[in-house]
Structures are given as structure tokens and as C-alpha cells.
Symmetry: C2
């Protein structure tokens, strides 16, 4: 069948597209993608999220979305919560024994393409894609389908997390994508008793990734922000009630 165009890949598109990546799971990439989207929507932007993290696919849960998308006249209508429209490649958390589902490269590419052509997103200011951790088919398909998309790399302060985050970010060199920047998550926070910084997950990972990607890609890759460890972020995520904490620099800088 004739191939539909992807609105966000057209020259005139004013939608800023960001592909959120990480080196490994558990650094808070999905939570951050959702909270960033909700923060931007809170600032009046029209925001969409594609959950392409087929291993984690936690975006609907993080937004409290339980209903599947509806289809109207051949277009998929994305569910909306907290001002953000979100579509997931696996709309529900694995519940029965029939999950997880077998995915193969070309199928992933077509599924991603469909989410970009057959979903009624409306006029978006920002489209965020929650990618799987690491470097894989989905990251490459994203670059092919959305060449103007910018990469955001998420890491924790730990050196080990930073090193794999650098590898994930270096893919942008091969896909000719710009890296919008690095976000360090689960950074230190002040002790509630004595006020001294508690660095649970080491120090300096974010800066390390920004420096190594800047060097490796001969580009200026900034550290966009540092989000402290805060159990309220986890509780909000568990309850499907995204929490926007004070990291205004990240959305502002990212746009």
C-alpha cells in the first residue's frame, strides 16, 4: 500500500522530536521521559510520547493509562493523561502468560512507522520517544524514520552507567543525529537530618557522559540537568501520578 508520510519528518514540521536513550535499564529513563513530557505540557506545550521501550514499556502505567487507544476512521487515537498523548508498542503490562511477544527487526520498524503515520497526534510542539536501553534496531529505525530527531542520553552518576551511556550516545554519530544533551538522574540529595549531600549512586556520571560524547562526536554535548534521587518520583511512578520536580533547566534547555 502507498506509504503515508510521517508528519514530523516533513521539512515544514515544527514539532521538536527527542529520542530518549540510556546505556542500561534502571537509570530512570522511562520515568524521566514521562515527567519531562508532563512538565512541558504543564508549560503549555502540546506533547506526545511514543513508548518504544519494548523491554520496559512502562509509559502507560506511569501516566495511569489503562484504556487501549481507539481507532477512528483508520486513525489510532492516542490516550491522553496529564496533558500528554501517549502510545505504546505494548499497551499493557504483561499480565497473562501470552506475554512477552516475539518482535523482529522489520516488524519493529513497521510498528514504529505506524505509530508515526497512523496515529492522530494533532499539532505537536514536542514528540518524545522512549527508546529501549542500549543500541538496537529501534534506535536505528528512529533515526531512519525521523532524521531530525535529537537524542537525549540518560545516565546515573555512576561511572559504570556513564560508560554504557556513552556507547549508546555514540550511535548518534553513525545515524547523523544531533545529541540535545545528557541528563543525570538519581543524583545526590541533602540528608534530611544534617543537610550534607548523600550521593547514593556515585558522582559525576552525567558530566563524564557529556564530556566523552563531546569528544567522541566532535560536538558540544551539554549536561542538561541533574535530577536528584527522590523517593516521591518512584512513588508517583508506581501510582501512575507523574511528579514534576524542580528541573526546569532540562525542558527549557532541551527546547
Amino acid at each position: 500500500r502507498e506509504e503515508k508520510e510521517i508528519p514530523f519528518a516533513q521539512p515544514g514540521s515544527r514539532t521538536h522530536v527527542y529520542a530518549i536513550t540510556s546505556g542500561k535499564g534502571g537509570v530512570g529513563k522511562s520515568s524521566l521521559t514521562v515527567n519531562l513530557g508532563v512538565a512541558m505540557a504543564g508549560q503549555g506545550m502540546s506533547v506526545g510520547i511514543v513508548d518504544a521501550d519494548i523491554y520496559g514499556h512502562s509509559v502507560p502505567g506511569l501516566l495511569g493509562i489503562t484504556a487501549p487507544p481507539t481507532v477512528v476512521e483508520g486513525m489510532i487515537m492516542p490516550p491522553e493523561a496529564f496533558g500528554v498523548r501517549a502510545i505504546s508498542m505494548l499497551p499493557f503490562k504483561p499480565g497473562g502468560s501470552a506475554e512477552p511477544v516475539a518482535f523482529r527487526g522489520p516488524m519493529l520498524h513497521r510498528a514504529l512507522q505506524q505509530f508515526l503515520t497512523d496515529v492522530w497526534w494533532g499539532d505537536l510542539d514536542v514528540l518524545l520517544l522512549d527508546l529501549p536501553p542500549g543500541t538496537g534496531d529501534i534506535a536505528i529505525s528512529t533515526a531512519q524514520l525521523l532524521p531530525g530527531s535529537q537524542v537525549v542520553v540518560v545516565t546515573t552518576p555512576q561511572t559504570a552507567a556513564a560508560d554504557v551511556a556513552v556507547r549508546a550516545g555514540m550511535l548518534a554519530g553513525q545515524t547523523h543525529q544531533k545529541i540535545a544533551g545528557v541528563i543525570e538522574n538519581m543524583s545526590g540529595f541533602p540528608c534530611p537530618h544534617c543537610g550534607e549531600p548523600i550521593d547514593l549512586f556515585g558522582i559525576g556520571g552525567g558530566q563524564r557522559v557529556a564530556e566523552q560524547l563531546s569528544a567522541g562526536l566532535s560536538a558540544d554535548v551539554p549536561l542538561l540537568g541533574r535530577i536528584p534521587f527522590d523517593v516521591r518520583l518512584r512513588e508517583g511512578g508506581d501510582a501512575g501520578q507523574p511528579l514534576v520536580l524542580a528541573d526546569p533547566s532540562a525542558p527549557a534547555a532541551a527546547t
Copy 2:
């Protein structure tokens, strides 16, 4: 084909079998299973681990195991690391786009059965099964194939985690399994500056689960131990170098 016997389900078996469960992902159940196994092996016990957590399957990585099992005369030889023999239903982390794989109930049951009949475990003092979070086919199959297995419930101190952990533990009432006890993970730790307790993940979840399961099952379900949040546990896990911290009460109590 004629059905082989499961050595651990035989009346004379002296292998203590524990099924490690949780209410939701991310509470440290797999890390704990591995560290518990390594601790017991360190005390001179012969220990085996079945990684039945098809959603997480992190056991091989946590033990630094990269080689697949070998097959000798129709028996699967489990890889060994840190004194523990471990077999995984998905031996490698999803790398290519062909993962994750479709699993269905009866197939899961047969796969689990095969790991109990066709693996050359040797004479085990302890067999640990890392179950998927929640209540599902694998938990039920475990109870059917290993009726003598005892359940260990892992939670964090948070009430939300505790509540879903109670639900997972209550399954033991229907499967007629004994609950060996509850382990609270990511408990408070002293501030490195002022020594006051930092409770990142709330307080009291472990005790709450033990009390509610004791009431719900009319049984004495003890809180076996509390493992503090310690970033060295996470770093050890990431490096495939399991760390045994001071929680001697848990293995001792569990056996």
C-alpha cells in the same frame, strides 16, 4: 515420553527448596536471590538457582555467567559461579531484535519441569527459584511440580510495595505452600555524615507484609531480615560480582 521424576519432589529428598517471589519488579528480588545463594554457598552448602523470572531473567548476569549450559548424555550441565549452579529460562539478556520470546502457560510449565528433571544439579542442600513478580503461571507450576517448596516474599519498606507483596504471598494459601518468611530489601541506612537513619523507601513494609500474611494465612510468617540500601549491592550486581552483605539472619533463619 515417559515422565522423569523431579528429585527435589521425592519424599526422601534433603534439598530445601525456596521459591522467591515479590509483588512487583524493582524490589531487588533477583539480586537478593543470587546474593542469598552465594551466601549459603559460602557457608559450605551446595546451592542451585533456577531463574524462572522470564521478565527480568537477570540471574546469569548477576553471577557473571555468559556461557550457555552444555549438554552431556542428555543432561543439561548448569554453569557454576561463586559456588552456585544456575540455570535460566532465558539464558542471555535480550540482545538482538528477536527477543523477547513468546511464552505460553503449558510451555512455561514444561520448561520449568525440564529444568528440574533434565539438569544435572548434583546433590543440592538448597534450590532457589527466582520467580516473576506477582502471581502467575510460573508460581502455580512451581507449587505443582515442587509441593514442598517454601515461599520467600521480598518487599521494600514502602507500603505500596508491601501491599502487592501481600497479594503475591497469599497465593501460598491456595497452593498449600508454607511461607518461610519475608525479607525487606532497600531498608534504611545510616547517613555517612551524621549517622542518622536515611529511609529512602519508607518504613515498615517488611513488618507489614509479615503481619498481614500471618493473619491472612493463619500462620506464623516471620520477617526474616532487613537488607539496607547499599549502592555496593547495585554495583556488584552490575559487574556480575555478587556482594554478600551482613544479613546472616536470613540464610540461617531460612534454613
